[in-house]
Amino acid sequence: MAVEASTRVATAVHVTDRAGWEGLIKALQRTHQVWAPIKTGEDRVVLQQVDDPTSIRVDAHPTLLPTKKVYRAPEETLFRFSRKHARASPPPESEAGVETKPLALVGIHPCDLRALQLLDRVFTGFFVDDRYSDRRARTFIVVGNCVSPFPSCFCSSFNSGPFARDGFDLAVTKLDDRYLLQAGSPAGQTLLAVLEVPVAGADELAQLVAAEASARQRLTRRVETDGLTRLLNMNVDHPVWDDVADQCLCCGACTAVCPTCYCFSVRDRLNLDLETGERRVAWTSCLVMEFSQVALGHNPRHHRVARVKQRLYHKFSYFNDQYGEFGCVGCGRCVDTCVADLDPVKILAKLK
């Protein structure tokens, strides 16, 4: 299986050292705005714009907020308006989404990359959000394969890790002080060729294969996805939902840190002149009370248990019906973030 994974990317494996890796980053920085996971505290890893290549981590814990924030910021302006003329005009330059330099994401994990591929189905599927689509097209992605999964991780259950298979320009796997690199696109190939990164030897190839197998073995937390949708649909009245509803605060933290949660609210903001303003979109959550409330007050998901079920059913059932794949990538952020210590792996296990 490990062999299958690494030969899926049918290109040569290259290897370089720390200096070579930093050189690659510097080369990217000449043409791209580089965003990468950075350690900002003892146990805090944040995805942010990077100037110093040495601060980039490719093997760190999943970032606090997921990669989705780069493509759909927590708050964004759709357009500006003037009330007199009922006309929309473009948002301020800084939010226009047309960065002067294209983006490079360096070191995001396979789970986050997979999440982007799932978000693509939402934002460029039935209807195309041009701004999202443009930003995605203008990004160079260096995915950081996970050699050492973290305690909450369960990516292998959803085929989103520990190593990435596609969707990247380059994949980097850090083995001790060596950086093994594989291209996943012509742009990635070109960069490796231009920088003359040497091809790895047979030993290193074997180590790469072994590293993936080892990482996979360490992912002991699992969700059985075979028949999961059906299992959920047959257990709509299972007592576990009431248990979860008793504990869940519906705070929405899990949806904020979830790399595939995409629900947003649309709000007009009027300036003090009562004439000009903006229409803003912002992250929201199906867990909040008013999410489904309609004018005149009726709320089909008034009760907490209904919202808790929506959260879990959408992720593990409905999304599959809508887009052909499960909405979860097993990154474990929700588990780490939940103030009530809820864990979807444990919840789903109760349905057996």
């Binding site: 009922a86 007009d268 009562l274 303003g277 979109v281 209904a306 059932s317």
Partner: protein, 295 residues
Amino acid sequence: MQGLMTPRPAVIERIRSETEDTAVYTLRFVEQEVQQVYGFQPGQFNEISIFGVGEAPISISSDPGIHETFEHTVRVVGNVTRALARLREGSQVGVRGPYGKGWPMDQLRGRNILLVAGGIGLAPLRPLIQDVLRRPQLYGSLEILYGARNPAELLYADEYDIWDAHPQIRLRLAVDRMEADNLSVAGAERLRRARVALERYDGQVGPVTVLFERLLSSPPGTVVVTCGPEIMMKYVAQGLMERGFSPDRIFVSLERRMECGVAQCGHCQIGPLYVCKDGPVFCYKDIRYLPEAVF
């Protein structure tokens, strides 16, 4: 500017008051080239923007065969509709659309139609009625059963004679109660005229399902289209299934909170369905057994 969620300006050409809290707005896109290519199917909706207040999804209620303008029948229920009600003829609003899956017009071809509506639910069905009036040769008979809370709430009362006069169309009415409270002067006049209409169209007192007792339509070769409060549609579906109508021949129109209209904001989902994209019109058989019960 372009953009998936960017409205185009439209001018309110005419406002016609229908009930105490409902009016019909005739709109035309300001940009001629936009109006020229604009078209919709019965049952679809537009997103109407009042900048500074917000946006609301509202069914289109006009004749799809009329291309110079389009109409919305709007009841005041929240911020956007209240702001809209304060506008005058000549004001501009933002419009984008049409969105959604409308009534299954292809399945209605050559068939009889049983149309059951409650209150404002008649609005998204009016384009269907207009199409039958305009192209009757495409359809069989159209039986319209319409109910409202009281006579002053009956929509489009001025059109009933036109509808029922058509040889293929038969209209019957029902009201929950004959009296209405707190009517304006115009409302009292409306009540008076509506009571006359009730006389003419076999007015019954009770929910619209009371009209099932003397149903003209029968299941073979008939498609049911219904819209109104969910509780009403529930009893309509039940009552008609008891009379032999099959769930795959009953079509309902659902409503949920919408904030984008393009299946991305997530609000309108019921199970795996987006009401804005997979609906608002649904075949009853497709929603009966959803994990999140509708009705």
